[in-house]
């Protein structure tokens, strides 16, 4: 949870405003509200504190960049865009409260954000009841399903199903023996379900699965059992620090010599955090990797803008969600000519956008962003002269509905 000072996003100004409002009734200041009517306000709840703080800060930086690029071009129809960043503390109740505050007090026109399966569903419950557009940028299968879907719910992030389908397509072979180690919570279960489905379709064999508690520091009791399964592939279905810890211990037990280690999401921040040795040869999926710039003009433009804004740093995978999510919303607002919800929803449904990773669009039935999935391999230390370039792009699974569950399967009327 190391958090250095953030580059100046307008928190200080917000703080000043909050202080001003603290003593006085907000409703007694109609002048202030009228003045705000000019700007387009976007709420951005994300876990600035908690285990994914590093990823959340990248999200904020990227989202700020998307807003800045639009404002530099004169805004949307002459209206400036402002981002209201709030700490949801990785807590669904807190996120719902903050979202209520964003809607009721700041009168935001749309909400983008979240970095947890449970948190995004909580935000979605608040926004859909009030008809406010929500673009979720965190992985979830549940949000696609008809029960949680609404006209104003959009899902920009990959979902576990498509991530695992793409990763499995490039790693699993018929007849292979697959063992699973999965975190015992919603994301881990969804990933596990996705991999097993892909494994059955490909014709590989499952030799066992072990669930571990989320946030477990010690995996040594699981490793001998996993070894005894004699797998060809070890699928480690978890996220964040859990991923780094479990891979490290799997390597200590020599599992990387016996089997190929495959993860759903290969995290850039975690890889830089624990170094190259443990991660060597690990394969995983990603929504974005900056090296896409070798083949994609949009990725190059995004990287250059990001590096110019943040002292030469490269955008990260989870950070990029902040950029693509906010950008797609702003593009739709531009097409809709303002913030009218019905028009923006229609514009989002009709939109095809390429802002960082090739063409993307929101599928009509569940508003899932159909997009490319990258399959990456972590390079050996000797092959990594550039510290910032630890991965090799094995494949780019093109944007296609093939790797999504069908609309009928999600419960939508066909």
């Amino acid at each position: 949870m190391t958090s250095k000072g953030l580059p100046s996003f307008p928190m200080t100004r917000r703080h000043a405003l909050a202080g001003l409002a603290a003593g006085t009734a907000t409703l007694a200041m109609p002048g202030l509200l009228r003045a705000q009517g000019e700007t387009i306000r976007i709420g951005f709840p994300t876990p600035l504190t908690g285990p994914y703080a590093a990823e959340a800060k990248d999200q904020v930086r990227s989202a700020e960049l998307a807003v800045k690029l639009v404002n530099d071009k004169g805004g949307i129809g002459g209206r400036k865009v402002e981002l209201f960043v709030r700490d949801d503390k990785m807590n669904a109740g807190e996120a719902a409260t903050r979202t209520l505050e964003l809607i009721e007090k700041e009168k935001v026109h749309a909400v983008v954000g979240s970095l947890s399966s449970a948190v995004q569903l909580a935000i979605n419950e608040v926004t859909r009841a009030r008809g406010v557009i929500f673009v979720s940028i965190s992985q979830s299968d549940t949000i696609n399903e008809v029960k949680d879907f609404s006209r104003v719910t959009f899902h920009e992030a990959l979902n576990p199903h498509m991530t695992t389908a793409a990763v499995a397509r490039h790693t699993f072979k018929p007849g292979m023996r697959i063992a699973y180690l999965a975190a015992d919570y919603a994301f881990g279960h969804e990933i596990l379900r996705g991999f097993k489905r892909a494994q059955a379709a490909i014709g590989a064999e499952s030799v066992g699965e072990i669930l571990h508690p989320i946030g477990a520091p010690d995996y040594s009791t699981f490793m001998p059992r996993l070894r005894a399964m004699k797998p060809d592939i070890l699928c480690i279905c978890n996220f964040g620090r859990d991923q780094a810890n479990s891979i490290k211990q799997a390597v200590d037990f020599g599992l990387n010599k016996q089997a190929k280690i495959v993860v759903p999401v290969l995290l850039y921040t975690q890889r830089l955090g624990i170094g190259g040795e443990a991660y060597e040869g690990v394969i995983g999926g990603a929504n974005y990797y900056w090296k896409l710039q070798d083949t994609l003009a949009s990725a190059r433009a995004f990287n250059e803008a990001y590096r110019a804004a943040y002292k030469g740093a490269y955008p990260t995978d989870y950070g990029a969600y902040g950029f693509t999510g906010v950008s797609s919303l702003l593009l739709a607002m531009e097409k809709a000519g303002g913030t009218d919800t019905d028009k923006v929803v229609a514009a989002l449904e009709a939109l095809t956008y390429d802002v960082a990773k090739g063409p993307q669009h929101y599928r009509k039935c569940d508003h899932q962003s159909v997009q490319s999935v990258l399959v990456l391999e972590s390079k050996a230390k000797a092959d990594t002269p550039d510290e910032a370039d630890p991965f090799r792009i094995l494949a780019v699974e093109p944007a296609s509905e093939d790797i999504l569950r069908s609309c009928t399967e999600l419960g939508f009327p066909s």
Binding site: S3, A25, D87, A92, L121, E125
Partner: protein, 332 residues
């Protein structure tokens, strides 16, 4: 914790002038508290924060009945708060109950759970009592985590949003934050009156006697065990009502509500405001949530600030904000 309390005996012993002031305040404590609650949405930075102060304040009031007045430090009250919230949400979303019946259902569930936990936990004392309540609350947490088909598990309970509520022919827009606040406040006010009545009753004197000296209360012929279970259940009942209001307010029940952090937060709020004082828990909830709201806008390290303030209070003002104010006013 006995130090933070101004008991009936203490008030009686005071000089006539002071006694008059204290008695008047005690007699009007419910209307005065409700008056303060009426003003909250207009003085706080946001209505969402005001509703949270209302809910967590009520939660701390319920907890205070056990901790401040009966002298039992429970670390498991998140279970009753959560049970109230889950039962209310399930009542509306899965059984199709009307909203007020769902509140009743939530209270029933939370109260029943408190009765069972109370029966088991009062067999121990002191730190062991705290540990048993904590362990039983964790049991409830993991049950909710595993029972995914009923509770939604990790993703939380969803799908029971009330857009409008009907009451005696009126239809109220429940998405309007101010209207929602005042509807929920009516329930909080009733609960405050209920707690005040309990404290003024002979039973209220008995639980304070147990807090002051359990052996002596037993020697006087009071059934200590029964009173403890009763106090535990009533406390759980009020906390379950707070949970029911929470469910109506956010229209979700996150799993974290049952977590150990919630139990810790309840203790913190009660101590911060002043354990064993009637209005102290509300002051504690207000102070805690306001600090969290304002400081977390300013720095991601808000926990350091809130934690430091809490430590300073425990060290230098053990009676809490409200308790210290009362003591200072009485001591002049």
């Amino acid at each position: 914790m006995t130090a933070s309390v101004h008991s009936v005996a203490e008030v009686m012993a005071g000089p006539a002038g002071r006694r008059g002031w204290r008695e008047r305040l005690a007699r009007w404590r419910v209307p005065l508290s409700v008056l303060v609650l009426c003003l909250l949405p207009w003085v706080l930075p946001s209505q969402a924060l005001a509703v949270n102060v209302l809910i967590y304040g009520l939660l701390a009031v319920g907890y205070n009945l056990l901790f401040g007045y009966t002298g039992m430090l429970s670390f498991g009250h998140a279970a009753f708060f959560g049970a109230g919230a889950y039962a209310t949400g399930i009542g509306i979303g899965q059984f199709g109950l009307p909203w007020f019946a769902a509140i009743g259902y939530g209270m029933l569930a939370g109260g029943a759970l408190a009765f069972v936990v109370g029966l088991l936990a009062i067999r121990t004392r002191g730190i062991y009592f705290s540990m048993v309540t904590l362990a039983l609350a964790q049991l409830v947490y993991y049950t909710a985590l595993q029972a995914t088909s009923i509770t939604g598990g990790e993703n939380g309970l969803r799908g029971f949003t009330l857009a409008r509520i009907d009451l005696f022919g009126w239809s109220i827009d429940f998405l309007d934050p101010v209207k929602k606040y005042y509807v929920l406040m009516v329930f909080a006010a009733l609960a405050l009156w209920f707690v005040s009545r309990i404290l003024n009753s002979p039973f209220g004197a008995v639980i304070e006697a147990i807090r002051e000296n359990e052996t002596r209360a037993r020697a006087c012929g009071y059934d200590v065990e029964r009173s403890k279970v009763m106090s535990f259940t009533l406390s759980g009942l009020v906390c379950a009502l707070a949970g029911a209001l929470f469910a109506l307010h956010l229209a979700i029940v996150p799993l974290d509500i049952l977590g150990i952090q919630t139990s810790g937060m309840i203790v913190m709020m009660t101590l911060l405001g002043g354990a064993g004082s009637f209005f102290g828990p509300f002051v504690g909830a207000l102070a805690f949530l306001l600090m969290e709201d304002v400081v977390s806008l300013w720095t991601p390290h808000w926990q350091i600030v809130v934690g430091t303030v809490f430590i300073l209070f425990v060290l230098f003002l053990p009676k809490g904000i409200w308790g210290t104010l009362l003591a200072w006013r009485a001591g002049r």
